[in-house]
Symmetry: C2
Subunit: 469 residues, 2 copies
């Protein structure tokens, strides 16, 4: 590519006017030129002296995977507390919460057994919360693409078999999150539906559009009314292979061995840090990500990035000299992945203490290049936030719209009725390639994309803290 010489800046020490100052929205007196300048200051701090990338390098590289109840999750709690303390927040504390403790165990193996009894290894992983197989579990396989299709099958076609849920992502959907939403019930409820029809286990196509040999884990559920059967994810290539071989030989068997198990609950913590509001200290604005991660990789995009961005958002405001008028609270929630115990505990404590929560924000969609914010609020509040869109336009985060905000902050809605739940929204084309798989590693995170996200979050906090809702 040859960029034109005309774009050259003769004075590179100056940010061009177009970037220095966003047009002030037509909303009247509620935001002004000073806001545009303040936000530019936030971005200068993030892009020149940002700390989130190095924080993430430590969290993912030195601690790594941190499933609830694991020693690494406990190390991450300590890391979060220290990192907030170093950032100079006014208050840093922990919230105790009991969490599930599931472990994958050493054995995890799947084989397609061909006509002559020869096993073909395929890439599988246990789904989170699944029981183990208690040795080897060998059975026939019946493939379906929906629960409806399963329900229509005669009993003898299912009984004693693995049910293989193989509905792929709908690639036509522009938003991969929509494709995920259209497929993920197979992972969540597959074992229940399989057992209900007499199946001995669930084999689930991985939740991704990517075609590769990485199985994607994620949580599954049981229902007390039906027997518990083991559930595993197959990589998309393994699922394609199993489907192909089943067409040639509907009588083939699958052998699954998994030593995963659910251990007694463990004590763990949310990590909380505050900047106390200068004018309205009792009005609280929360920003957070979840500290726990799945165990197959480093939990980089899911959700190490949300944690370091949340800490960074408060640090940026402090470093930029923008003392918030309302109290800002960065929260690293524990146990989003398999229980949401941290999110529920946070909401429960807020209700018990009768706290006044103005708004809560979460970053849990990966730290890719900015798009905007998803808002759960009344139409009037959504509109108010949309009036700030011009301030976010130079930073590619002006797409402010109704949408899912975040799993950890959701319980706050019922508990203390904040006026808005807000999800920071980055581009998501690459997210489900990595999500819950061995690929969710630090090297997949781009320094500037991460920093731009944290700065956009800080800018939103600045406006919320200054103007309220």
């Amino acid at each position: 590519m040859g960029w034109p010489a005309a774009q050259a800046q003769t004075k590179p020490s100056r940010v061009p006017r177009s970037e220095r100052q966003a047009p002030v929205p037509a909303a009247g007196p509620r935001v002004n030129k000073a806001d545009s300048i303040a936000i530019r200051t936030i971005f200068d701090e993030a892009l020149l002296r940002g700390q989130s990338y190095e924080n993430l390098r430590y969290l993912t590289g030195k601690i790594g995977a941190r499933l609830s109840g694991s020693p690494q999750a406990q190390q991450a709690v300590e890391w979060g507390r220290l990192t907030m303390e170093k950032a100079g927040f006014d208050k840093v504390y922990l919230q105790e919460v009991m969490v599930p403790h599931w472990v994958r165990g050493a054995k995890e193996k799947g084989q397609i057994i061909g006509e002559k009894g020869k096993g073909i290894d395929v890439a599988v992983c246990a789904l989170g919360s699944s029981i183990g197989t208690n040795g080897k579990l060998k059975a026939g396989v019946v493939e379906v693409t929906s629960f409806d299709e399963l329900a229509r099958l005669p009993e003898d076609k299912v009984k004693g078999k693995f049910v293989f849920f193989n509905r792929p992502f709908d690639d036509r959907l522009i938003e991969p999150g929509m494709a995920y939403g259209g497929a993920v019930e197979q992972r969540g409820r597959g074992a229940i539906e399989a057992a209900r029809r007499g199946g001995v286990g669930a084999l689930v196509r991985s939740m991704t559009s990517a075609r590769d040999d990485n199985p994607h884990t994620g949580n599954m559920r049981y229902d007390e009314a039906v027997p518990k059967v083991p559930a595993a994810a197959l990589s998309t290539l393994a699922a394609d292979k199993l489907s192909l071989l089943l067409k040639a030989n509907p009588g083939l068997e699958f052998e699954l061995e998994m030593s995963c198990q659910n251990l007694p609950e463990e004590k763990s913590y949310n990590v909380v840090g505050e900047l106390i509001g200068s004018k309205f200290p009792n009005e609280i604005i929360t920003v957070g990500g979840h500290l726990d991660s799945w165990d197959l990789a480093q939990g980089a995009h899911d959700d190490g990035t949300g944690c370091v961005q949340s800490i960074e958002a408060l640090r940026l405001l402090k470093a930029a000299g923008l003392r918030p008028e309302r109290t800002l609270r960065a929260v690293l929630f524990m146990n989003e992945e398999n229980g949401v115990r941290g999110g529920n505990k946070y909401a429960e404590l807020a209700r018990e203490k009768k706290e006044n929560h103005l708004a809560a924000m979460e970053s849990d969609g990966g730290a890719f290049t900015p798009r905007g914010f998803n808002v759960e609020a009344s139409p009037a509040v959504v509109k108010q936030l949309q009036r700030w869109a011009p301030l976010f336009r130079p930073y590619h985060a002006s797409d402010i719209k109704a949408g899912h905000a975040g799993t950890d902050i959701e319980p706050l809605q019922k508990a203390v009725q904040p006026k808005a739940l807000i999800g920071y929204d980055g581009d998501s084309q690459r997210y489900f390639d990595l999500h819950h798989s061995a690929l969710d590693t630090f090297d997949q995170v781009h320094r500037r994309e991460l920093e731009l996200g944290g700065a956009n979050m800080a800018a939103m906090l600045y406006l919320l803290s200054k103007y309220g809702l």
Copy 2:
């Protein structure tokens, strides 16, 4: 991340309404619901049966780097012709053009010579078009961050030395292309400015914000009025190291050895494919990328992606049954990187044949997730294109604004005055990490991001072809 169950689609075979049909813009009768549906059809074809990704795999993997004049560039011409023929275009042909032929040669080595004469290897690469060093070239080093600073230095501080241009990207700029524009004159004119003051060579900090050991090449120029001196890029880490060591020891020397050379010009080609317009066959809309690439990697994002997207854009319209009313011409331009001979030849032939060019589009900014289009046109034409923005909103390409369109189509402006030059614009945060370096490889390209880009380009061609300008 836990996406809400509420997002699940119970009928995954249906694209949700919000994605099926974009709001029709308020511009009146010029676009309608049929356009929205036609564009959705284009995206279905791209996302379900797209061919651009596999085409790119072949071009980058089987042919690879293809600098003008190289055997690989000639193979790429053949590949382009065959790929267009296979796509069933109405006409496929070549346009002959003479191109520069620069070769890197086998020797390429840079060393910082410390106080005791010990050499420290650092990552360097010759800049394109540079002369070689004719053996080893050892000299002192003077560091500057601007041409102004160089001009102010006394003669004896520069004479006989390497001039080390070490102005970094301005990381505060949100658009990396702006940071590139603010730094790239060092690469383009560094050797001229160094030689003008008696310097023996130019050492240039690589054009990237990334901190790593990959030197980034790119073209440089000479001026007949001053001696030609060799020019090399240092990786950003090498530049940081050289700068640090110079502070401790301003008398240190640098030793450069490069066997690059400029060979006689070679015959090469643009590759052109057409879909003939059904109503206005003489009104031409061009879409293209450049077929040549730098020699350090595979030329994936720069600009293999623009080539396969341009071919794909026409193929999508054909496959979707959307026969264009005006003639669409996909062009793979030769020699963008070090001469723009292909772009100039294309414009020259258009003028000679008195062709009627309505508009021209280029994709040469990498195939990252879509943003929109950059337009060079009259304000009225820019406004007309902006009225189509709602049709692009569901596909993340609604940011339609004035801006640089593309180097290869630029000569058309003077030659035949098309009403608009349009640059397809993807996100650019990651682009300059790879650009002109060994990292510009196929694995850095995301299938869906590539496909979404080609489909957005096809949608724009569909509207231009239907409505004119």
